[in-house]
Symmetry: C2
Subunit: 206 residues, 2 copies
DNA sequence: CCGTAAGTTACTTATTCGTAGGTTACCAAG
DNA sequence: CTTGGTAACCTACGAATAAGTAACTTACGG
């Protein structure tokens, strides 16, 4: 049994609250979750949350920040080496792995944040991610002689592809993500025009 | 002056409330909007909303239903004829036109609905749209000898592409959607592999 | 055994859904 | 013109939920 609800040192309680909060925010969205529910699930009373994070927004901000950082890191890593096509494949797989292994985090990032909506725009956090990915893409496109202004279009398109397929996958959970990644990469790389009947990955010398 | 706030017959008031509600839901999301704000913006008191729609959910449901129907119709129309590539182009353009001309409706559909979240899943309304589009795609894919199980993947990928680019575009509003549609279609059809430097549409004999 | 970090109860304040019951504008017939 | 009658509308409330805070209590290590 998960330790008889003893007292925890500050850092551990923080970590626990972040975990619990992520799970609850994932399920009910920002506006839909109450601080009290988070506290209850953590077997703790409300003021504890306020003590550690200053309130609902504070906790939410920390969770979002961590999650964004994590995904961005994984994707950056995935596209840091290899042939262009390999990078696409690795990035797809990396993102889908994230979706599979961190469903709560993914759900939080998929939802609309109160921060961006109060700041005028309505976009989800993942649009921000697309922006950063776009910054990585831009130089490569320019190098290849493409219009730089199109970079954000492609970045958003690619992130959107994988994101939408990701949320679909979380409901079905059926074809293993490796196979899903194959299809996505094939579509992104070859296009509908040259879609192979049975897509294969192309990772040279792992 | 928008008519000195006189009394309106039921059907007109209904229409007005739908319009106002859509705008407010678009800005603050479902949970974030109060019935009172909708009433206030419609220069009317709260019980009127309850009288016409039975409550917040009722109004929301009507708005969502109409919007879904509208988009689905436009997309279906776009992909009802032409060569495969033309269909992709027309669909992209149709969707982006919707985004441009009905930003509020698009925002509502982009957000997470309380209906789907109470029904277990977290997906946005646009995932449902992808499902329907997938049903249209499936036969064509099967015809061409592809694995039917991959149809939803492609459908979601395509909808995701255009959706994400759409939300990005609503913030920037810069390249006219015709140009954006060109890029998207090129990516979807040719893939990153064969991306043209300056994409062009390919609508034969309109 | 005592000081402090960790935690709790109980409250105030504010918002919002939803409704009960009364009021007023409009229209058509006398 | 004036008088109903009805559709449209409003004020005012009840109940519930949630954010955030004040002031008190208790476990635990040195």
């Amino acid at each position: 049994m998960a330790s008889k609800s003893r007292r925890l040192p500050a850092s551990e309680r923080r970590a626990q609250l972040i975990e619990v909060g992520r799970s609850v925010f994932a399920k009910h969205g920002y506006e839909g979750t109450s601080v009290e529910e988070i506290a209850k699930r953590a077997k703790v009373s409300k003021p504890i949350v306020y003590e550690h994070f200053g309130g609902k927004e504070g906790l939410y901000a920390v969770i979002v920040d961590r999650e964004m950082d994590y995904v961005e890191r994984r994707i950056s890593e995935a596209i840091s080496s290899g042939s262009p096509r390999e990078r696409v494949e690795r990035a797809s797989l990396a993102f889908l792995s994230y979706v599979r292994d961190h469903p709560d985090g993914f759900a939080v990032l998929s939802q609309d944040s109160p921060l961006s909506s109060s700041r005028g725009t309505i976009s989800s956090l993942l649009n921000d991610l697309a922006e950063r990915v776009g910054d990585v893409f831009a130089p490569a496109l320019k190098e290849a002689g493409y219009d730089t202004k199109a970079a954000p279009i492609y970045a958003n398109a690619l992130i959107g592809m994988v994101t939408f397929v990701g949320t679909w996958w979380t409901e079905e959970r059926k074809p293993p993500i490796e196979e899903v990644a194959k299809h996505i990469s094939a579509l992104a790389w070859m296009g509908l025009r040259h879609l192979p009947k049975r897509p294969t990955l192309q990772r040279s010398a792992d």
